[in-house]
């Protein structure tokens, strides 16, 4: 996003050369600049239209959090109700239950899913041979491209009550395990699914950080008598710490989002008690039961809290002397 030194030549009538033109650019009459750039502006149209309608239109649509939205009347003419939707949300025990489920699942993700790609990346990086590493990488990246519908189907086929695991257990006279559709097993199951799907893909960024570590540091450490473990502790870990902290911040800012599709697909199998998270709550309250105002209020609160969380996490990172996501100037 740095302005490039080259700039467009003026329309043929202009006599200015490059550096001068840069200074004079704002003085070129708007009409002439429009005539010069009309092709580029026309090329922007579809994209800009998309962002205005589907992003800014949707952003504006959040006003129904403060309205009693009635589908036939439309967004404009539905009556204003102030913060009624928010107060009814505060008194909605299902909302708090969904919020609690979300935070606890996100906490489990942080403990079990977050370190998994790092561990796998360290393992892959420690391989000296390229062939094996490339092969393993191709295999573990694949699940990222598989849709959640299929991932859920695969887990059912392997862990379900007529699945491979229980089949093998039954054939050997052991008692079967009820995993799919069991509310008590739901949290371990969703963590296992996300690790299976995204762990390999998550290694990319860590592997890039690991490859960027200066070889000479390892060499110097080795000459000073550091063994493999000490080289890992004193060279590798400090080198990748900024990336780890950056990702941790992004994750903390997103703690109210655990991923929608995965939970939407399995919520009904375990029931809302175990399966409801904030995003599915928004769906079932709004599109499911038609309480659009309440659902939008829930979505808006989630977004606002998320922004505050990202901002605070970034502040904390600065305190700790790390670079963080963005630098405040």
């Amino acid at each position: 996003m740095v302005a490039t030194p080259t700039r467009e030549p003026e329309a043929p009538t202009s006599t200015s050369d490059d550096p001068a033109a840069k200074l004079e650019a704002p003085k070129t009459p708007l009409r002439r600049r429009l005539r010069r750039d009309w092709v580029l502006l026309a090329l922007m149209l579809p994209g800009v239209g998309y962002f205005l309608v589907f992003h800014y239109g949707a952003l504006f649509g959040n006003v129904i959090a403060f309205k009693d939205y009635v589908p036939f009347i439309g967004v404009w003419d539905s009556p204003w109700v102030g913060i009624d939707n928010f107060t009814s949300l505060m008194n909605n025990s299902q909302f708090w239950h969904a919020a609690w489920n979300t935070v606890s699942i996100a906490g489990l993700q942080l403990i079990f899913y977050f370190p998994a790609p790092l561990a796998l990346a360290l393992l892959l990086h420690s391989l000296a041979g390229d062939t094996i590493r490339r092969f393993v990488q191709s295999v573990v990246y694949l699940p990222h491209f598989i849709s959640w519908v299929i991932v859920v189907a695969l887990f059912q086929q392997v862990l379900g009550d007529v699945g491979v695991l229980n089949g093998v257990l039954a054939d050997n006279g052991l008692s079967t395990i009820d995993i799919i559709g069991n509310p008590d097993a739901y949290r371990p199951l969703v963590i296992a699914q996300i690790i299976w799907k995204e762990c390999g893909w998550g290694t990319i960024i860590f592997l890039a950080a690991l490859t960027n570590v200066n070889e000479q540091l390892y060499e110097a450490a080795a000459i000073d008598g550091a063994n493999a473990w000490r080289r890992f502790w004193h060279v590798t870990l400090p080198a990748i710490r900024p990336v780890v902290i950056l990702l941790l911040i992004l994750r903390l800012g997103d703690i109210l989002t655990v991923g929608f599709e995965q939970f939407f697909l399995q919520r009904n199998a375990v029931g809302p008690g175990a399966g409801e998270v904030l995003d599915t709550f928004v769906f079932y309250t709004g599109i499911g039961s038609g309480n659009f105002g309440t659902a939008t209020a829930a979505g808006l609160m989630k977004g606002a809290i998320g922004l505050v969380l990202v901002y605070s996490a970034n502040k904390i990172a600065h305190r700790l002397g790390e670079q963080g996501v963005y630098k405040s100037r």
Binding site: T6, V39, L40, I146, W148, I150, Q157, V158, A208, E219
Partner: protein, 295 residues
């Protein structure tokens, strides 16, 4: 693990370490491959074998494609596969064109309004459209229950746009100057200079779009009331994740074991991804990394 690539200072790892690493990698690879293996095996086993074994097969004794001929004979699955293919083709082409146009215009310096429009676009990173307001936009724009509702609301991915813009900015300015002096307009510069130099990034972003169109099911579920219009992933969800009986969704006579038919549908929904995967794989590390650095 050829020792030739190992720097001298590193020393040779102990045998125990190497064996432990080997086992760990083997387990990781098997955990990924095994589920795919068992759905393929179950889908090509004979119905009798699947039923006798309780619904799953790891190594089929006889191979039979009965499940595939059954669901591809016409009916819901065939229809859903066609819909998915159509959405993926049209959607990818539309998204790619819109992304290229906007990325190109935003990559050129000093375009009128370029700066504010760039900010307008980047700002959407902070506030991704929420579910209910997006749903209302689709309702109010009259896209509801049309295939356009599966494409237009997800036309441009901001991340893809930023990656592509970064790539276009890397094209040397001298080339653009030269083309301009030869009398090329902005559009010709795009088609004759920029695009031929950007085949890799266009390919990988096209594949990203294609994968996301093929995999998406939620928009179909909320925006298409008419379930006969549903793409394969939405149909698959209906009876894989909700356990709806297959007979309801397929007109084909179910002489087969429902389990092998189910697995055949899962395989058909996965195959296109597996087919394009080698092509994406060649590019994505590069694409993802340039994107990450730029943003």
């Amino acid at each position: 693990m050829s020792s030739s690539q190992r720097p001298i200072w590193m020393g040779k790892p102990r045998l125990v370490t190497r064996i432990a690493k080997g086992i760990a990698l083997f387990i990781v690879v098997m955990l990924v491959i095994f589920p795919f293996w068992t759905i393929v095996a179950t889908s090509i086993a004979t119905p009798e074998e699947v039923v006798a074994n309780g619904g799953w097969v790891v190594i089929p004794e006889t191979i039979s494609f009965a499940a595939y001929t059954d669901i591809l004979r016409g009916g819901v699955i065939t229809n859903a596969l066609t819909v998915s293919a159509g959405i993926t083709l049209v959607g990818t082409a539309t998204s790619l064109v819109a992304t290229i146009f906007l990325a190109y215009a935003l990559a050129r310096p000093n375009v009128v309004g370029g700066r504010p429009i760039l900010l307008l676009v980047l700002f959407t990173f902070l506030f991704p459209p929420a579910m209910i307001p997006s749903f209302l936009v689709v309702k109010e724009t009259g896209l509801f229950d049309s295939y356009a509702a599966l494409i237009l609301p997800v036309l441009i991915n901001v991340f893809n746009l930023v990656v592509m813009r970064g790539f276009f900015q890397g094209v040397p300015g001298e080339l653009i100057e030269a083309a301009r002096l030869d009398g090329a307009g902005d559009f010709r510069i795009l088609t004759r200079i920029i695009l031929p130099l950007s085949k890799a990034v266009v390919a990988v972003i096209g594949l990203f779009y294609a994968v996301s169109y093929w995999n998406s099911f939620f928009n179909a579920i909320i925006y298409l009331d008419d379930t006969t219009k549903w793409p394969i992933q939405a149909v698959l969800r209906q009876y894989v994740s909700q356990g709806a009986a297959l007979a309801d969704t397929s007109e084909a006579t179910m002489v087969n074991s429902p389990q092998s038919v189910k697995m055949a549908v899962v395989v058909l929904a996965t195959v296109p991804i597996i087919l394009v995967y080698p092509f994406i794989q060649r590019f994505f590390t590069k694409g993802v990394l340039t994107g990450a650095i730029k943003s």
